[in-house]
């Protein structure tokens, strides 16, 4: 058992006693009851648990909560609410970029991060010229979103939603 303090969606959180075995995902879902972050596989193989840690997207299932002492966590609940959607959330609704909704929070967290990663010049597997800034293309978006599995198969619509937010043609 250990103490843990971090910031979640702008709010400081102190967990007086947390089992060292608790993943960041389970700390969010079970301790803080922020169940918007989903558990799909618990092994880094689906991406449903994607959150932003200090602005960077990771799989929260493959991270111990105690490793995040002092970190700044953003979950889907921190992006927007039903009454005040984040532009990416609104674009997902408009483009029907989801079906069952279970992978959706992870897709949206990743989508927000992917646009930021392209903006920051992080290359990807499909970036043709490693010496240049990666272009914002359909192919780049698809490659970078590939860590988020949607078994319902909303991919084509998700890419449309992201392209709209990014202001490009999918």
């Amino acid at each position: 058992m250990m103490k843990l303090s971090f910031e979640v969606n702008g709010t400081p959180c102190d967990l007086a006693e947390i089992d060292t075995r608790t993943t960041l995902l389970d700390a969010l879902r079970e301790h803080l009851r922020l169940t918007g972050t989903k558990k799909g596989c618990d092994h880094g193989q689906c991406g449903a648990c994607t959150v932003l840690v200090n602005g960077t997207r990771i799989n929260s299932c493959l991270s111990l909560a105690v490793q995040h002492h002092g970190d700044r966590i953003t979950t889907i609940e921190g992006l927007g609410t039903p009454g005040a959607l984040h532009p990416m959330q609104a674009a997902f609704v408009r483009h029907d970029g989801y079906q069952c909704g279970y992978c959706t929070p992870g897709q949206i967290c990743s989508a927000v991060a992917v646009l930021a990663e392209i903006e920051a010049g992080v290359p990807s597997h499909v970036t043709a010229d490693l010496g240049a800034a990666p272009p914002l293309t359909n192919l780049e978006i698809r490659e970078r979103m590939s860590g988020n599995i949607c078994r319902c198969g909303a991919y084509s619509n998700i890419v449309d939603a992201m392209a709209e937010v990014a202001g490009v043609k999918a």
Binding site: D19, G36, H43, I76, Q99, G101, S146
Partner: protein, 732 residues
């Protein structure tokens, strides 16, 4: 309401809300993570404990002893229940594997224990301390080895379905094909694993779970646990994907209930990924032989489709031959299935059971036959269209425009530019090919009920145990009620997935949309009557629009008409229209692939589906159903396969790294076109299903495109590069 005659004009035909591509009403909840799925129901009961299920380590035999001492003594453990603590429990009536109880092990990862603890971490650690001793028995795990002596398994009364004399007609045909195709075992792997919170209140049990079929499952829980169905409540308002894998009650629900009883606390259980794959159900593998004989002009004169699959004792076959009874003309027909006994996990329904693997085979065969005849594969299909059930020529299709799907699809996709000679188009390192296949899936009718309430603010609340598994049920039900009662969508509240609500069709077999909305239609008709009665109006001379009830010059706001509130409940039931007419849905699937000339990797470039599926209730969510199905079809064609260890009897690749499904990078932009139609024979909604249609045939379109790209015909799915690398010509 009994639906016995083709629908005439009704309020739905106004299409002011129905038929519009409105955003899903549950969208804001799903995109903000505020829709609550089963394992997230902290809100339904305090003091919930965590259960972890332990699976069997052998595929067949008996578990002799289970040592739970270390687990019981582990920190935080509240209860341990093992399969040896209880006699074998009952089964749901559509299931073949027993979920718990007794010593017999029928398949790998069958549940043998549940450990309940204060925290998830404690329960998981204690579960790992359980030690079981087994007496293994030799099992049968290899479909190919069992296929040769598998007995016939009829579909209905007859062991073999025959029309005319197939053998004679086939022998006489100038052009013939006789090929065997295989499809592998597949897993639903919905992203939300099976999960349940079980809460006992005395002898009453409530399960907050993830389930497609609430009424079936309420009954199944009662049967399995040996309790009256009235004491069981099943609640499932959000389902994180099902695809048939959540049609039934699974071990999570049963063991949450048993664990909760033993611990005296509410208990939450989710299955781990390996258990989702080896503990629940899967789509069984098939071996399919297809024979087609045709005249030189391309008319099919003889067609036979035989399929062998396996299952546990009492199991049923994968009905991969189903579509071949209906899809194409041909005077002489033979259809048969064989069922092998296998000791693998239970084979059962996965999205479009039967047609999904059946069309994967049949539509390659049709492509091969077209080539043998020197006909364009679109034209060959058109030439063999039938407007009647070939076995019963007096029984027409209610509506069938397969020809329209193929023609429009060919035009939109640029089919005429396709070079029919394989391996003739190259784009850099890529070999390019186009493929086509028909899509076909039956439209099934089943009764469905709902309750509709109107309050004094004019708010309409629909309650039904229908589920929304990503299909868009919430939205199309709201659209139906809004259309029927003349209110905006913002005035409609939809409550789903609770066995306390009227029983619906549920989500399966692509029957949900048409039947569930038809049930809501029926309840709304009754509510309209109640409003008319209350206002002293003639129900036949009354209109509901703009939030008002109108009759002659009289206009009454709906809320005012409701007074203290009105409620109506009714459902749809069907007469003999499904017997008098064959009801099916149709598609033309078109695909462009690129195959790496060196490595044989296949990547999809374009996909188009043109669908003939009755009235489309919401083109936005219906389109999503189709693209999702096309994506699953791409997985089936190119990568999805549960690999069987035929010595040890289990699916080896039992996680999402080993069982690959398509990711974003695999799926190009997808186009869907719905033909503008309505089928008055299907229901008052004049709609049919589309959720499975999009899957049926798309795999074969991909296979045919690979053939067009490479000249290599692959008849074994999935078409991974190792299935044909030895036949792929070396790049120049």
């Amino acid at each position: 309401m009994k639906f016995e005659h083709p629908a005439g004009l009704n309020p739905i035909d106004r299409l002011t809300v129905v038929g519009r591509p409105v955003d899903r009403i549950d969208g804001p909840l799903k995109t903000t993570g505020t829709a609550l799925y089963a394992h997230e129901r902290h809100d339904v009961a305090p003091n919930q404990a965590y259960g972890v299920v332990v699976g069997a380590a052998i595929a067949r035999g008996r578990v002799e002893t289970i040592d739970v001492r270390a687990a019981r003594a582990a920190p935080g453990v509240l209860a341990v229940v093992t399969t040896l603590d209880v006699p074998r429990l009952g089964r749901g009536r559509m299931n073949y594997a027993y979920l718990f109880g007794g010593a017999e092990i029928q398949h790998y990862h069958q549940a043998i224990a549940v450990v309940v603890a204060e925290t998830f971490e404690q329960a998981r650690a204690a579960a790992a301390l359980i030690r079981a001793d087994y007496t293994p028995e030799q099992g049968r795990f290899d479909l190919a080895a069992e296929a040769g002596h598998a007995p016939l398994h009829g579909d209905g009364d007859e062991p073999v379905h025959r029309v005319g004399d197939f053998e004679t007609a086939f022998a006489a045909a100038p052009v013939t094909l006789d090929r065997t195709y295989t499809t592998p075992d597949q897993s639903h792997v919905m992203i939300e694993p099976h999960a349940t919170v079980a809460v006992w209140d005395g002898d009453r049990l409530t399960l907050w779970t993830s389930n497609q079929m609430i009424a079936w499952s309420k009954k199944a829980v009662a049967d399995i646990l040996g309790m009256p169905a009235e004491k069981v409540r099943v609640v499932s308002p959000y389902v994180g994907g099902g695809f048939g894998g959540k049609l039934f009650v699974r071990a999570d629900a049963v063991l949450a209930a048993l664990g909760a009883k033993a611990a005296g606390r509410p208990v939450r259980v989710a299955l781990t990924r390996p258990l989702v794959i080896n503990n629940t159900t899967h789509r069984p593998a098939t071996i399919q032989r297809i024979r087609i004989g045709a005249e030189r002009d391309g008319r099919i004169t003889a067609i036979a489709h035989e399929s062998t699959s396996g299952n546990l004792p009492d199991g049923s076959p994968e009905t991969a031959v189903a579509q071949t009874k209906l899809l194409y003309a041909g005077a002489a027909r033979m259809i048969a299935m064989r069922l092998a006994r296998l000791d693998l996990p239970e084979g059962n329904a996965m999205r479009a059971p039967g047609e999904a693997p059946g069309m994967m085979a049949l539509e390659i065969a049709i492509d091969e036959m077209a080539e043998a005849l020197g006909l364009d594969p679109v034209e060959f299909r058109i030439r063999n269209d039938t407007q009647v059930d070939p076995a019963h020529p007096g029984r027409p299709f209610s509506y069938r425009d397969l020809v329209g799907c193929l023609r429009l699809g060919a035009e939109r996709f640029g089919w005429s530019a396709r070079d029919p000679k394989p391996a003739s188009v190259r784009d850099g390192r890529w070999l390019i090919g186009l493929g086509v296949a028909a899509g076909f899936r039956n439209n099934l009718l089943t009764k469905s009920s709902a309750r509709v309430e109107l309050d004094r603010h004019g708010v309409v609340t629909v309650s039904t145990d229908m589920t929304d598994i990503g299909t868009g049920s919430y939205t199309i039900i709201a659209q139906t009620a809004a259309e029927m009662l003349g209110v905006g969508l913002e005035k409609v509240v939809v409550r789903l997935g609770d066995s306390d609500f009227p029983a619906s069709a549920g989500s399966g077999g692509q029957w949900g949309a048409n039947n569930a909305t038809a049930g809501v239609y029926a309840a709304c008709v009754r509510l309209r009557d109640a409003v008319a009665r209350k206002l002293g109006l003639n129900a036949t001379d009354i209109d509901f629009a703009d939030g008002e009830v109108m009759s002659g010059d009289r206009r009454v706001p709906l809320g005012e008409a409701a007074g203290e509130g009105l409620s109506a409940e009714d459902g749809i039931e069907y007469g003999s229209l499904a017997k008098d007419y064959q009801q099916s849905t149709f598609a033309g699937h078109f695909v462009e692939v690129a195959v790496d000339a060196h490595t044989g990797e296949t990547r999809l470039r374009r996909m188009l589906a043109v669908c003939s599926a009755g009235r489309i209730l919401n083109p936005k969510s219906a389109r999503s159903q189709v693209i999702g199905a096309m994506t699953m079809g791409a997985g089936a064609a190119l990568m999805e396969k549960l690999s069987v260890d035929t010595r040890r009897g289990f699916f080896v690749n039992h996680d999402l790294a080993g069982y690959e499904v398509p990711v974003h990078a695999d799926i190009p932009h997808q186009e869907v076109i719905f033909l503008d139609e309505a089928d008055p024979i299907s229901s008052p909604m004049k709609a049919k299903g589309v959720g499975e249609l999009g899957l049926c045939g798309v795999g074969a379109a991909i296979a045919n495109a690979i053939y067009n790209a490479t000249g290599v015909r692959v008849r074994d799915y999935p078409i991974t590069l190792d299935t044909y690398l030895d036949r792929l010509p070396r790049p120049a």
